[in-house]
């Protein structure tokens, strides 16, 4: 409300400032003497000075004086004729209308189409003081604390997986590295570190990741995730036999209902065939390579690319809606693009396929809550 009061006040002030000369009309105008007359008079004085200091010869000064004198007379004449012109009628009414009507209309129209009048200022200090639910600010707060005290291992430990989940892979790698340096090895930390390195390398199990995985395995032998990535590394290195053995081992030790069993078996199937089949098509939507490419782009291009990928994902989900993860990704993408309405629509569409009571449906709702799409109790 105060905002609109100030807006009206500002507009009114400008309108009044513009109207004043029109309202005052002729009364306020003591006809200012013409400036050029003053200039010529001043120049006459200057010639005297120049002559005195030897800047012009005496006869030249005389001639110049005559020259300026002629201009002075012409200027004085012009001044007199200008006084006579002043009695013309005023066309002020139209101008007043333009100021009173056009100014507010134009400004309000333009502003409302571009501005966000309801959006309050959000200085960082105030947000840090009351960070309810603002995940970005929570991250910023931990970051600020770490700048002050970079040897706080717990801070890095908290931050690392958060970075990784938000796609800030480089930051995540750095945070894991600091946490490992300060707090030492744990299987979880090492596995997270390795996973982030692999994600940052477009899915390649790079040597640093392999080394971390082996350290993790020595601390917690039998961890299926760690073993999977190690096997994947072998496969990528072309050591098919060792990879097949490792995957087979993993499959053999897996409980029957392990959700990752299908993935292991698909790798086994690929390694089992004598001629390697081409890689199965990656699920549509941004791949790590795409994201890496996006990082190097101009903001406008990046936005266009993200939007292209998101609309691709939306089209695919329309055709094959039985993809709970896809719906989650779509909702998140829409929120990143600042299109909450479409995110809400995605939630609705997803829920129409996965009932809210089912596990995927519950996950969808939980995500919607963290994204701020729905209020508690819906």
């Amino acid at each position: 409300m105060l905002f609109w009061v100030l807006v009206s006040f500002l507009t009114a002030c400008v309108a009044i400032a513009l109207m004043l000369p029109l309202l005052r009309g002729e009364k306020g105008s003591a006809v200012a003497a013409r400036g050029d007359v003053a200039v010529y008079r001043d120049q006459l004085a200057e010639i005297e000075r120049d002559k005195a200091s030897g800047l012009v010869a005496a006869d030249e000064a005389e001639r110049a004086r005559a020259e300026i004198g002629r201009r002075l007379i012409a200027a004085v004449d012009a001044e007199a004729s200008e006084r006579r012109v002043r009695d013309t009628p005023r066309a002020g009414l139209l101008a007043q209308a333009a100021i009173v009507v056009l100014l507010p209309l134009l400004c309000l129209g333009l502003y409302i189409s571009m501005g966000r009048p309801g959006l309050p200022d959000q200085p960082l200090a105030a947000r840090l003081a009351t960070p309810d639910g603002d995940i970005e600010v929570l991250i910023a707060r931990v970051e600020a604390a770490l700048v002050a005290n970079p040897d706080d291992g717990a801070g890095w430990d908290v931050l690392a997986p958060v970075y990784a989940r938000r796609g800030r892979l480089e930051d995540a790698v750095e945070a894991y590295r600091n946490a490992l340096r300060i707090l030492g090895d744990t299987p979880e930390r090492l596995a997270g570190f390795a996973e982030t390195l692999i994600a940052a390398a477009d899915g390649q199990v790079v040597p640093a990741a392999r080394e971390a995985l082996q350290r993790a395995l020595s601390l917690a032998p039998g961890d299926p995730g760690v073993r999977f990535y190690l096997a994947l590394g072998l496969e990528q290195n072309g050591r098919a036999d060792e990879a097949r053995a490792a995957f087979a081992d993993l499959a053999a030790s897996a409980p029957a209902n392990a959700p990752w069993l299908a993935l292991v078996q698909s790798h086994l199937a690929r390694l089992g065939t004598p001629t390697p089949t081409p890689q199965p098509a990656a699920p549509a939507g941004p791949s790590t390579a795409d994201i890496a490419a996006a990082e190097d782009m101009q903001p406008a291009d990046r936005k266009a690319m993200i939007e292209g990928m998101v609309s691709g994902l939306a089209a695919r989900l329309k055709a094959q809606p039985a993809d709970a993860e896809g719906w989650q990704r779509l909702m998140r993408s829409y929120m990143v693009l600042g299109r909450p309405d479409e995110a809400r629509q995605a939630l609705k569409d997803g829920l129409s396929h996965f009932p809210a009571k089912s596990e995927p449906g519950r996950q969808l709702l939980a995500l919607a809550k963290t994204l701020g799409l729905v209020r508690e109790g819906l």
Binding site: G35, L44, E67, L119, P123, E136, V147
Partner: protein
């Protein structure tokens, strides 16, 4: 709310500019004084509103309000507060807002100091200024709006380019823009005069202070930019003939020409048409510079972001403004009356020569800057026109001009006495030759041209001093009397002397720093020693350190001269945490006007570091000269005759003086 209020103020500023453009123009066309007078208040309002918008954005920057896209993209909460503030114009949107702010500031200045202008002229000038402001406000709002918001707001910004996190950013752009945009007033005066069809000596008198002000700011703005590049980029260079530098240098050259031709016009009512054309061209070159830098045609540290829409928009402004003004010029120039006559050997003649050379030089720089662009557009071939081209063409052109500079002020108006002027400059010339000979002897085997150009620089300096000395009558009259007369000389005489003296100082700095610098690139291990400029530097090793938003490796060097301790130099390599961007901080140690410049390169595994060391003799003179030129401009500006609002109050005095004289 502050941010949104700033946004609204900017919109209101656009609307105000539109009205400020239209109402006074209609007033002039219908001879309605009330309408003409609306321009004044509108100019104040426009400035106030733009200032409000600017302050709102600055508040968002200082408080790290990342709900503003512009702040999110170009700031970071860990940056020290001064750089958070100067970061307002460390990006495209903010710097365009600063451009607009300064434009409206000049409009308000014209409104304030223009009380003695004829009403029609003042109304037209304000109207043209407002047309420019409206075009740029529209540009900002439509393509580069700094007030767009993000909801939800990110928790941290993407950081300001570390190269820009420097006091240089706080100083260089505002000064440069004061210069660039200051010439808009001259442009508006020229267009107003063309519309009105009346132009006389008084016009030149009114334009000259604005040209002087803009020129002074541009001079010091360019110099500060050069010094900033020199110490920040770590290459030891201070001028690269980079298109972005040329973009600011061209208006400076044209502006220098304008300054001198306006003098002729004011004094002698000659060169009218030419002066009007120069006023238009100077600002056109400013606009061209803005286009080159802002459109992304050139990629450099200045092209913060590139977006084709922006380029097209600025190009449209460029075409309309320059094309419109030149068409008007073509239409009206014929109706302007040519002014007084003069002999070739006269002060006017010298100034015409100055104008000829300066405009040719401007054209040279323009060709060197645009030719690669045009060629790339037409054929796709990428070439770069570098220092060899500019040094040869531009340098060659400037030499005769520099030689003539001391003669100009010595010549009388209308008909000068060349022999007399030469006689008065004889002492200066002999002293200069003596200095040149000493340098030639001292630096035997060095670059052969350098001593001669140094002599030219000394001649410039001494010649500049000789003029007021001659006017005061030193040597002819008694010392005390001459001193009294010196005090009585008009301030503009001193302004001229300062500026020309500064030119000589800069010339000497350029020649010495170019011809006599020594450069060494060596791999140094801790404990190793190297010689540079008569000093021996010992590398003591690297030490880690941390700043507010960066960590750095600082290399320490101890200096000795002739075995005696001569201080120390720190040079560092920084990594800014937010962008993970490395920068080098050169270590600079000043001895008199000379500097020792140490920059760190890559470090090796075994503790060795690649170190670049320059000895730059007299290098500070380059910028010191520019400061002197600025001072000259300021002194000239304080001359009573030019003081902008003067005639209303002091009109009586000069008249009485004339009467007393008669």
């Amino acid at each position: 709310m502050i941010v949104e209020l700033g946004h609204y103020a900017l919109v209101l500023a656009l609307a105000t500019a539109l009205l400020q453009c239209l109402l006074p123009l209609v007033g002039v066309l219908t001879s309605d004084p009330a309408l003409m007078r609306t321009g004044t208040n509108a100019a104040y309002a426009g400035f106030g509103l733009t200032l409000l918008a600017f302050c709102a954005l600055a508040t968002a920057y200082v408080t790290s309000d990342f709900s503003v896209v512009n702040v999110f993209e170009n700031s970071h909460s860990q940056i020290p507060v001064i750089y958070r503030f100067s970061g307002v114009w460390g990006n495209h949107e903010g710097s365009m807002l600063l451009w607009l702010l300064i434009l409206s500031f000049f409009s308000a200045l014209v409104a304030f100091f223009g009380s003695h202008l004829p009403e029609r002229l003042k109304a037209l000038v304000l109207s043209v200024q407002a047309a420019l402001a409206a075009a740029f406000a529209l540009f900002v709002l439509a393509t580069s709006n700094p007030f767009l918001r993000l909801d939800p707001a990110p928790g941290e910004g993407r950081d300001l380019n570390p190269v820009l996190q420097d006091v240089g950013l706080a100083i260089h752009p505002p000064l440069l823009y004061l210069g660039y945009v200051g010439f808009s007033v001259c442009f508006s005066f020229a267009v107003a005069a063309l519309i009105d069809g009346r132009i006389d000596a008084a016009w030149a008198r009114w334009v000259r202070p604005w040209a002087l002000m803009a020129w002074s700011f541009l001079t010091v703005g360019i110099a500060m930019g050069s010094y900033w590049a020199y110490y920040e980029l770590g290459w030891g260079g201070w001028w690269f003939w980079d298109p972005v530098e040329n973009a600011s240098f061209m208006p400076w050259l044209a502006g220098t020409a304008l300054l001198h031709s306006a003098l002729v016009m004011e004094k002698r009512e000659a060169l009218k048409i030419w002066t009007v054309l120069l006023a238009i061209l100077t600002f056109s070159l400013s606009l061209l510079g803005t286009f080159l830098v802002r459109s992304g045609v050139l990629t450099s540290v200045h092209a913060f972001a590139t977006d084709p829409r922006r380029g097209v928009f600025i190009l449209a402004i460029l075409v309309i403004v320059i094309g419109g003004a030149l068409s008007l010029f073509a239409l009206r120039a014929g109706t302007l009356k040519a002014g007084g006559l003069f002999a070739p050997i006269s002060r006017e003649g010298a100034l015409v020569l100055n104008n000829l050379i300066l405009t040719t030089a401007t054209a040279t720089v323009l060709i060197g800057t645009l030719y690669p662009l045009v060629l790339e557009t037409l054929t796709g071939a990428k070439i770069s026109v570098g220092p060899p081209f500019f040094n040869l063409t531009f340098g060659l052109l400037m030499m005769p001009l520099l030689f003539v500079v001391p003669f100009g002020p010595m010549l009388a108006w209308k008909r000068g006495d060349l022999a007399g002027a030469a006689e008065r400059l004889l002492t200066s010339a002999l002293l200069a030759l003596l200095v040149g000979a000493v340098v030639l002897y001292g630096a035997w085997g060095g670059p052969i041209l350098a001593p001669f150009i140094i002599a030219l620089g000394v001649f410039l300096m001494l010649g500049a001093l000789a003029e007021p000395a001659f006017r005061a009558g030193f040597g002819k009259l008694g010392f005390m009397l001459a001193l009294r007369r010196l005090r009585g000389l008009p301030r503009s005489t001193f302004g001229t002397a300062f500026a020309h003296f500064g030119l000589g100082v800069t010339l000497i700095g350029i020649v010495c720093a170019t011809a006599y610098q020594t450069e060494a690139i060596v791999e140094m291990r801790p404990g190793q020693t190297i010689e540079a400029g008569g000093y021996s530097l010992t590398f003591d090793g690297l030490r880690p350190a941390a700043g507010p938003n960066y960590s750095e490796e600082r290399g320490h060097f101890s200096l000795r001269k002739g075995g005696v301790d001569a201080g120390e130099v720190w040079s560092s390599k920084r990594v800014y945490t937010a962008r993970r961007m490395p920068t080098t901080e050169a270590g600079i140690r000043t001895f008199g006007f000379s500097q020792l410049y140490v920059s760190l390169g890559d470090s090796k595994e075994d503790g060795a570091v690649v170190v670049r060391i320059w000895w730059k003799p007299w290098v500070l003179c380059i910028w010191l000269g520019a400061l002197l030129m600025f001072a000259g401009g300021a002194v000239s500006l304080s001359d009573r005759r030019l003081r902008i609002g003067v005639p209303a109050r002091s009109r009586q005095r000069p008249i009485q003086a004339v009467e007393a004289g008669e």
